[in-house]
Subunit: 288 residues, 2 copies
Amino acid sequence: MKAKLTFLGTGTSSGVPMIGCNCPTCSSGDPRDKRLRASVLVEYGGLSILVDCGPDFRQQMLRADVRHLDAVLLTHNHKDHTGGLDDIRAFNLLEAKPMNIYCEEYVETSLRREYSYAFDEHKYPGSPEWRVHRINGREPFLVHSNANEDRLVWESGFGYRHEAPSQIPAREIPAVEVIPIQGWHHKQKVLSVLGYRFGNIAYLTDMNLIEDEELEKLRGVEYVTLNCVKRTQHHSHFSLPEVLELFDRIGAAHSYITHLSHGLPRHELFDSELPEGISPAYDGLVIG
Amino acid sequence: MKAKLTFLGTGTSSGVPMIGCNCPTCSSGDPRDKRLRASVLVEYGGLSILVDCGPDFRQQMLRADVRHLDAVLLTHNHKDHTGGLDDIRAFNLLEAKPMNIYCEEYVETSLRREYSYAFDEHKYPGSPEWRVHRINGREPFLVHSNANEDRLVWESGFGYRHEAPSQIPAREIPAVEVIPIQGWHHKQKVLSVLGYRFGNIAYLTDMNLIEDEELEKLRGVEYVTLNCVKRTQHHSHFSLPEVLELFDRIGAAHSYITHLSHGLPRHELFDSELPEGISPAYDGLVIG
């Protein structure tokens, strides 16, 4: 089964440009050098799946005119990947459905702390409606369509009431299998980060180490994305030499770099120096 | 002392347009109908003061080309007013200074839960550097220039080291006095919200009740802003009749409405129906 992936954001945690920065990358007029925080939209098996939901989520949804999402997959618990989850409220209202969120247990723990109001039994009216699915990061898991979820009924001043879905869902779409690839944000394996494989496309970001057995899960992908913030060694991201070596080992026909900072050259220059088949991603790029 | 205020965002918690909405307000081509989350920049006594730091903070700083901030004042602890605080990191880097944040104790408690990593003794490198000042909401307080703050020295892979400031600060700017006006997000007085008066300008949002003795603190202001999400009764915001009555009681020469939703008419239509001296604010509007 083939997937289609749209890059909604390809920037590092600060985005590009950096606030107040006059460097050549930050002052570039090329729209490909305007990078929101890293996030992708994947269309796979009839489902619309978002990977990561950073602070630019609303802006990204408006820009790409996204009007339907079945699920959000989180790679890890950093704010540039989770900071927009309150804005899921817009989809609760638009689709009258809670949002399925898939993440590791430690990420759920962070969400319960950082968005405690979304987990209250008696919620503040208008709080986001999520259904969190814990995944273990080592085994394939199923992502479900939101068609069978409860229907949300808004009661002004009180919030949402949940109604069991009618027996015939509006859209009968089978769940899709997604393969997580576990990596680490630091070589010391402090923070687990999940990449995700959707058939022929794999999207991995915010890693600094991937073990060999996890790399095996990328065998045969056509498209792969990895992260690189800057050329040289970084405490929590691949350097450029590391990422090029990994692309070589993975051997996908098309390899993309995401999570770029202003420390890398402008898109056009950076693209021209990379080997055949390897490109910097940019916001709005569609692959697959 | 006169202040100048720039509206950086004038939208309700979802912003305008709402994701996926085709209503007349959301599909308006008028840039004044594009409303980011409520936030203002106040220039007062030589200081640059931000009120609220929602999820659009980065976008707002880039759009208004803000390159210096002395402090952030928070009105309350809702995500549309605090969700961008991680992005304060950009100013830590740009100015090599921690950011002064002024808020009530219960807001600080929320920040400590929602941004726990910003309060760790041994921080994750690149975490925001804040200095939180607790204010009691009933008494005037001083907002300080960041000139006397520690200097932050970035040590790659380890994070910031704090260095005591040199004895001669780069800019000698005296602190300014700000008057908080306490209101309530609900008529039941569940959640305290602070408005702020900067000399001739007062900015209040997210209220549904202001008691008479607090209203007294607005006596003599030239410019005042209050919140209205929609025309009719709302569980946590003023209705249009309520806000018009309050403007009348306050008697400022110029009154502005902020925190607007798509439930209100397009800017031009809404403006034309309001009494003389009362206008909807819009993103980018400068007053004072």
